[in-house]
Every structure is written in C-alpha cells, then in structure tokens.
Assembly symmetry: C2
Homo-oligomer: 418 residues x 2
C-alpha cells in the first residue's frame, strides 16, 4: 500500500509526502507520485506520531475508579482487589480502549507494562499500533513466585510478534522484585537483545525504604547490582540527586517522565529535567495509566511537563515547546529503539495530520507553540498513520463504537462496587 | 424563546430541563413542555457554563508571540511594543476570536481587563456571551495619565450595556497605579455598585518591590490604603503569607487563581488554595490571556489547578475533581455576582452539554472525574447555551470561519516582526 499526502504544512513550508509500505520514501515540494491513497493536506500540519513512553494500557478500565484518595488506600481498597479479578476478556477490551484513545490523540507507539501479556499482544496487533510490550516480573522476594513470572516471561518472549510489536522485560520495582530476579532479567535481556522497563524513584517513601532495606537509594542500589545499562528504561526518577543523575548518564540509561501521574498521585512535582538534559540523558514522556493520570494524551503530557519545569524553577525559558515536542516524538522513539519520530525519507511512516482550522492555531504565529501550549490536547489530531496504515481519518477510527460499548458493558459492575 | 432539553444526564440521573427566556424554569424527570426548540440530551451530560475569572481577551491575537522568553524581555521586546500599535479593529477581532474559543470550550462568562473598552463591549455583545468587562486604569504615578484613564473609565461606565454585560474598574496593579488613583477607583466603585479587579502578588519581584517602595507586602499595602472590600477581585495572589490570607478573608475579598499563566511565565507553582479555602475565601479560576497561557480552556485550568495542589503538597487528596468543577462554575459566578453556575430553576440559563460518547468518558465510573481529569479539555463540549441563547450546537458556532480568517489576515504582520 502507498499513500500520497499532498500540500501539508511541515515546519515553515508546504510539502508533499510519499509513503510506501511501512516507511516514508519521499518528502518534498510538488512531488509527482502514483499512490493507492491520496490525502489532501490543505489546512493541516504534519507531525511525527507521538510516543507514550510509559503506560499500563489495560488499566484504562479503572479510569475514575477511586480518585483523590491517599495512595496506599487507593491501591489497597480500589486497584489491587479489582485487578486481582481481571479476566483475559477485561484486559483485551481495556487495551482496545487504550489503543482507541491513543490513536484519537495522535499516539502511534507506546510502551506498556501489565499482566495478561498474550491478550495485550492480540489487542495491540488488531489495533495496528506500534508498541513495546512489557512482560511484568514480580517475585515479592519469594522463589516460587519468581519462578512463575520467569516462566511466563520466557513464554511471552517466544510468542509470535509482528514487526510493529516488540517484547521487553518489565520488572515492576525494586520493592517488589529481588536483586536475584533483577539480575536474571538483566542476563536474559542481554542474551535476547531486549529492553528492560521498570518503575524507579517514584516516591519519597520508595527512596526511604530503599535506604532502610538496601542501605542505598534506588539508583545506587541498581548500580550496585549491575542493572544500569543502555537496555534499561526507567519510569519516573522523580526523587534523585546529582550523583544519581551522573550514574544514569554514565551508563546510558533512559528515563521516562510522567508529569500528570506524578502530580495526581501526590508523588511530587520537581522532575529534574534540566539537570538530566545537561548530563546527556535521553528523556521521553509517558502518561502512566489512565487510572492514575487519567488519560493517555501525549500533547497534554508535553504541555504539563513544560509548564511544570517553568513553574517550579520560576524560569519561563525552561523546556521550550520544541523540546517538549521532541520528547514525545524523536526522543521517545529513540528510547524505544524505533526508527520513527521524524518526517524524513527512510523513517517509519508513523505520523499525524493536525487540523489547523481552529482557534488554538489562530493566529498561526508559531505552529509548535500552538500545538503544545494552545491546542494542548489530542483533539486537534485529524488523521493518524502508523506503519503505513491509516488508523484514523477525519477523527474516525474503525470499530470505535463497539469498543466503547464493550467496555461500558464490562465495567458496569465496577460502578456498583465503588 | 424557550428550549427543552430532554433526557440529559445530570449528576446520577437522567433529567429534562426547560429554559424560558434567559433562565432555567424547570428541572425534572419526564417533564411535558411546549418549547420553541427541543434538544435531545441522549448520550450527553449537562454542566453549568464555565466562568473564566481572569483574562485579557484581545491578547488572543498574541498567542504564541514570543514564548519561552524571560518575562521582562517578553514584555519589553514583544508584547508592549506590539500592544502600543493595536487598533480598535485589531482588538475587535481579537475579542471575537477569544469569545469563539471560550464558547467552543464551554465558557459562558468571563472577566476581562484591557484597553479599547468600547470595541470589546461591542464584540462581546455580538458574540452573546456574559461578561464582566474591566476598564483598565493606569497612572504610572503621573497625574495627567491618571486624569486620562479616570475620564475613560467614567465614559466606559456610561456606555449602554445589555443585561449580560457589566462594567467594572480594572486598576492594573500596585506598581502601575498610585494609592490616590486606587482610592478614587474604590470610591467610584462604591458609589456605582461596581466590582474592582486587579493583579496582585503575581511574582516575587512584585512583592520585593512593594516592600521597598511602600514598606509593606502587596496585600498589607492594599489594606493600609483601604482597598480591601468585598468589591475587590484579585487575580493571582500567588505569593502571600498566612496573615495576608487572614486579611483577604476578613474583608471578603475574592481571589482568581491562574495556574497555567503562573507556571508558563515562571511566576511560581505553590498557590495556597487549601489555606484560602480553610480561611473561607471564595476562589475562582482564570486562564489569564492566551499570550501567556496560551489558551482560554477552563476545563484545562481546573485539571491543572487540581493536579498542582496535589503535586506541590505531595497529597493526592488535595482539591478533588468536584471542588475544581465548583471553582469554574458556581464559585466563579458568585465572585462575579452572577446568578448562574447551577442547574436549577431560577438560575440563568448558562449551561453546556458534554458528549459522553468518547474514550475519556469510558468507562463512566465517575462523570466529574472523567470531565476534569480525563477529558480535561473543552473539546468534549457539544452544545453551549448562554442567557437562554444557543451559542454552539454540535460544536458549530455561527460565523467561526469568518473570525479565524479575519484574525489570520490581521496578524500576518506579527509573524514577520517576530
């Protein structure tokens, strides 16, 4: 299949884009191409598809389920008991809903961590998104549990995956996974050339407990047990000091910042982006799950990340709009090792067309500023292409009514429980 | 004109709403009414129209004009030189654009402060929004300037206003308006039963300068010169101490919090909402101008305000979704002395219908949570009614293409200047 996008705004000019198969083959002015589909880009701008660097897609089922509660009560009374009852069918439709929401807000690729890997894989393949899926690893410092999750991870790794979807190991956190199991994960990831994703330094409590239990802060502990490598992608890293930033940088570890989740769960606000950037660390953004943040909108994440930097530093020049856009496109793609995030020949055809015919893009002084600061939400996305397939056109996604209806039917009992 | 909204979700039930003239006359189940217009509320929820407590509508022309710059350079190099050249025509179309954007995001009423009052009044009357317009007062500590702005304010106050639009005095700030002129404003406002709106304690610099120049922090200075009364609406109040909160509360002064602007301009992040609430102060939210924040979206303001409270306090229970919704509806209306902000008989017919057929409202565990935390943006608003007139239906506003085209034509030169 080939797609020809005519006359679309890209940076300062109007260009044509030719997509052949899964990749962009030509970008230029007044191209002449013979394509299966021609899209008129007039009144639209093109941007790379957004990359959501950290989420738990199936938890979209828990959106609005116990907000505004203290973290421990929320987990113990709401999330964990309900999570234990989730069936494969629940997870399947939860992931479909998450994919629908991501497509409708311009995200073409996401990094996921959750249980029920095989059904997540099936749902994502059906929705034709790009993803790095994480097979969750827990052991709660118990060998039997460790054995079960290791087996499961090996089984999940062996499942057939399309070229769009990759496997990763997802040890949950240092307080739920032992050093032995983390080292097994590290060894397996190296042997199989996989990434490892993990929650680290999300709360002050986690850091205090690490000091009590391991005699070291989380990053120092990971360093000591040999986990800091370029394969490692760390979600959060909200509570880290200058030396830990140095360690992360020196070992080529990557970081995903989740501003909405960190604020809403009361984890904190002062993410040290400027220091990480200065140290040369690659930083992407994520939404975390819709049960904590409560949506999967990457433009919103970009605005929030930028505004927070400026606000807590009292510095309006911190994280300009272009840098925030870079974090949700090229930087995110680089962290997930995907050849996307740019509109240029040879890159994967993961891109969005933005509708400029709206107050947020008027006046058109500065497109990137208008996208991040004024539109500030995925509702400005008109068309989404991923891997050379059109996933949304004119804001319509195939099968969306069925997904909303199925999730509403499945979750009726959640409301009664609340 | 009468409007009958059938079968719309309101809190936990499905209701019918009958609007006669400018007000809601009946709310109940299975009403039988004979109306000029019948709207089907199936698949929609009703909320009061949002109240934007602080903005400078005409500055929507400057959206994206010099972002990410240090505050002083932004004002001196970008905003003030361009502002000095604004014509009545520029302001007229800037306000029309702002009204269009507000209507499209569910705002029915706003509080404005800017120069060129007569054309602002004309644009707002034409757009059929409700507004408290502020006649700006400056004197830069110079008697001639003071005389000019006083005359202008008196002339503006005498202009014919519809029942939807009211006059207020808008002395800019304590560093641009002398105590004499502030006291004149206070006297005039009392004599004419008007509100006074003003920027106060927005930056640390302002507070330091107040100590240097007046020997007191801004709120203490206003107290000393007799300005603290229930007529006073203060925008920002970001840098205030416990005693100042007490003074604001004791004198019935109201506060408008502008979270996006405060963050983006690097003014600060730690707005003391919980302390103000405990002291009994009425707090509403505003967007500030689109040149600082960069949109006029009140749902976004509500989410941001809530997330910021939780984040900087490390407390997920701070400012729940319902409280944030209250701030942008009933609290805002109360502060502007408007009998709106509630869906009940006798209240002004200022309301929005929200489209629930979207991922953000799925599952429907909790409508208010989904509205503020998940939809988190005005694009979920389907229909807007203000003063009993339908301003938007099915996301269409009369004349929107013309407004976008006029503003784009007018502002082409801004881009060249940049």
């Amino acid at each position: 299949m080939s797609i020809f996008i005519k006359n679309v705004q890209y940076e300062q000019s109007s260009v044509d884009i030719f997509i052949e198969g899964d990749h962009i083959s030509r970008v230029g002015e007044r191209l002449v191409c013979d394509a299966d589909r021609v899209l008129d880009g007039t009144g639209k701008a093109v941007v790379p598809g957004f990359v959501n660097g950290h989420t738990h897609a199936a938890m979209t089922l828990f959106r609005g389920f116990g907000d505004d509660m203290p973290l421990e009560r929320w987990l113990h009374e709401k999330i964990w008991p309900r999570e234990a009852k989730l069936t494969d069918k629940d997870v399947y439709w939860g992931v479909k809903l998450a994919c629908l929401e991501m497509i409708k807000s311009g995200t073409t690729c996401f990094c996921d961590m959750y249980m029920h890997y095989p059904v997540i894989l099936r749902a994502v393949e059906e929705m034709k998104m790009r993803a790095l899926l994480g097979s969750v690893v827990f052991d709660h410092f118990n060998d039997d549990i460790a054995a079960r999750y290791k087996q499961e991870a090996e089984r999940n790794m062996a499942l057939p995956h399309s070229s769009r979807v990759s496997f990763s190991f997802a040890p949950h956190a240092i307080y739920t996974v032992s050093a032995d199991t983390l080292q097994w994960v590290n060894h397996m990831a190296e042997a199989n050339n996989c990434l490892i994703q993990m929650h680290v330094a999300e709360t002050q409590t986690e850091c205090r407990n690490a000091l009590d239990n391991f005699g070291a802060t989380p990053i120092r502990y990971l360093h000591r047990i040999g986990l800091l490598t370029p394969r490692l992608v760390l979600a959060h890293c909200l509570w880290i000091d200058d030396d830990e930033i140095r360690m992360i940088a020196d070992h080529g570890v990557q970081v995903i910042h989740n501003p909405a989740s960190n604020l809403k769960l009361g984890s904190g606000h002062a993410f040290r982006y400027e220091e990480m950037k200065a140290a040369g660390i690659k930083v992407g953004f994520g939404t975390d799950s819709a049960s904590s943040s409560n949506n999967l909108d990457m433009i919103e994440a970009a605005k929030l990340a930028s505004l927070l930097q400026k606000g807590w530093r009292n510095d309006p020049t911190a994280m300009p709009a272009r840098e925030a856009l870079h974090c949700i496109t090229a930087a995110g793609a680089g962290i997930l090792r995907i050849n996307a995030g740019k509109i240029a020949p040879g890159y994967l055809a993961d891109l969005c067309l933005i509708n400029l015919n709206a107050p947020a893009f008027t006046p058109g002084n500065d497109f990137v500023s208008n996208l991040i600061y004024a539109a500030s939400h995925g509702s400005c996305v008109d068309t989404v292409i991923c891997d050379g397939n059109i996933l949304m056109e004119n804001r319509k996604v195939a099968g969306e009514e069925e997904i909303l209806a199925e999730v509403n039917a499945l979750t009726r009992e959640f409301i009664t429980e609340q």
